[in-house]
Amino acid sequence: MGVGSLILLILCGVAFCGLGIGISKLIAPSSKNSQKLEAYECGIPTEGGTWVQYNVGYYLFALIFLVFDVEIVFLFPWAVVLREVGMVAFVEVLIFVFILFLGLLYAWKKGALKWQ
């Protein structure tokens, strides 16, 4: 029965977001001019393109994140049934986590975790 209430809550949420933006659009004053609608950059006209080159570090962290997020997905069902499956499964998961941790150590050693 949880799903029905969840749907109700989702409807409430959508209604709240829609009403908030809708009402504000209706009652707020509005005066348009072209200067006002420019992207903000310290008050002067924007310089160059917006899609600036950014640090490759973000990309590296996203890659390592993927590995560990998948690891967590694997660990959840294991953690729930740990009491039934016993010590053997625990040692196996420790080995699994250890191998992934070696990966993290490798990335660390290679300098992928260093922010510059």
Binding site: T46, G57, F61, D69, L82, V97, W115
Partner: protein
């Protein structure tokens, strides 16, 4: 059946409005506490002790002119704050606000949806919250907003790993993914903080980072990025971003209180109160006391600690918290083995 549907509808509306009101008054509390910690008064003009300040702020947000920069992607620009607000409101569904009230022989649970994968739901919904910031920052087509959004998403995914790992250690001891059951297991003094002190420490640090609160508020650090991902936002859409932050804070406090501090359980309460319904309502009251304490902690930390530098933030996440969380899993398993919980 009809009465059941009506009760669920009432419960949903109550939980929804409590989340909203709590978030509203968190903004007031933040300013009052900031005033208190800095030895000044804080808002005190709107109503007695400034108690109507959040209402005045809300009206102001509604009345402000709406601006959508002409270089931005209009649809995504509106979608961003809506997603952030929406996901933060959805998380309240799986929190058990109390056990069951008994009215005329019927049991009425105070949890909106007791799904058996409550924790996964919570993690999933909060992960979608990253998109709200990412979409908004990207769609603004503004350099500061883009950098703020990148920082925010990078920070949130980094701390999500440690958050997930610390929760896994908790799941190992509780053996269930249902938040209702986790709360019920902690009756009396069996609060999970006693079994998972290290896990709790990792969890609360990650909760600070996930909600973008100081000292992890780099996505919107004013001195470098103007307003971060919401530089271009105004009127109610800005309001949604700010409001989503406070809603997230309220919900994280509720999650911390429920997962680690016994939720609605309060030791010794059963000795003094015997009416079951009064006991349930008192439990809910104590849950809210715990939540208020954690909200206060969030604010206390914000006005005490300086902001991290970005490399320090990443170092703490990847080189500090993740190895520590893995260590915590190993320790938890070994302790469970020694005490004979797993064979």
């Amino acid at each position: 059946m009809l009465s059941y549907i009506i009760y669920k509808a009432i419960l949903v509306v109550i939980v929804f409005s409590i989340t909203l009101v709590a978030a509203m008054y968190s903004t007031y509390a933040e300013r009052k506490i900031a005033g208190f910690l800095q030895d000044r008064l804080g808002p005190n003009r709107a109503g007695p002790f400034g108690i109507l300040q959040p209402v005045a702020d809300g009206v102001k947000m509604f009345m402000k002119e709406e601006m959508i920069p002409n270089v931005s992607n209009k649809f995504l620009f509106i979608l961003g704050p809506s997603v952030a607000m929406f996901t933060s409101l959805m998380t309240g569904a799986v929190i058990p606000w109390g056990t069951s009230l008994t009215i005329a022989g019927h049991q009425y649970s105070l949890q909106v949806a007791d799904v058996n994968i409550g924790i996964l739901y919570l993690l999933g919904v909060t992960s979608v919250g990253v998109y709200g910031i990412m979409i908004g920052g990207w769609a603004s087509n503004n350099k500061f907003a883009l950098l703020g959004a990148l920082r925010a998403s990078s920070q949130m995914i980094s701390y999500e790993v440690a958050l997930g790992l610390s929760i896994i250690a908790l799941i190992m001891t509780t053996g269930t993914l249902s938040i209702g059951e986790i709360a019920a297991q902690q009756h009396g003094w069996h609060w999970n903080i006693l079994y998972q002190p290290l896990g709790f420490l990792i969890f609360i640090i990650c909760a600070f980072a996930e909600t973008n609160r100081a000292p992890f508020d780099l996505p919107e650090c004013e001195s470098e990025l103007i307003g971060g991902y919401h530089t271009e936002y105004s009127s109610m859409k800005l309001g949604f971003y700010l409001f989503a932050e406070y809603t997230n804070m309220f919900i994280s406090s509720a999650v911390i209180a429920t997962l680690y501090f016994g939720g609605y359980n309060m030791p010794l309460l059963g000795r003094f109160v015997h009416d079951p319904n009064a006991l349930v309502l008192l439990g809910t009251f104590f849950l809210f006391c715990k939540i208020c304490f954690f909200i206060f902690l969030f604010m206390w930390v914000r006005w005490t600690l300086p902001r991290f530098r970005y490399d320090q933030l990443m170092n703490l996440g990847w080189k500090g918290l993740i190895p520590l969380a893995i260590l915590n899993i190993a320790i938890t398993g070994i302790v469970m083995w020694i005490t004979g919980k797993i064979n």
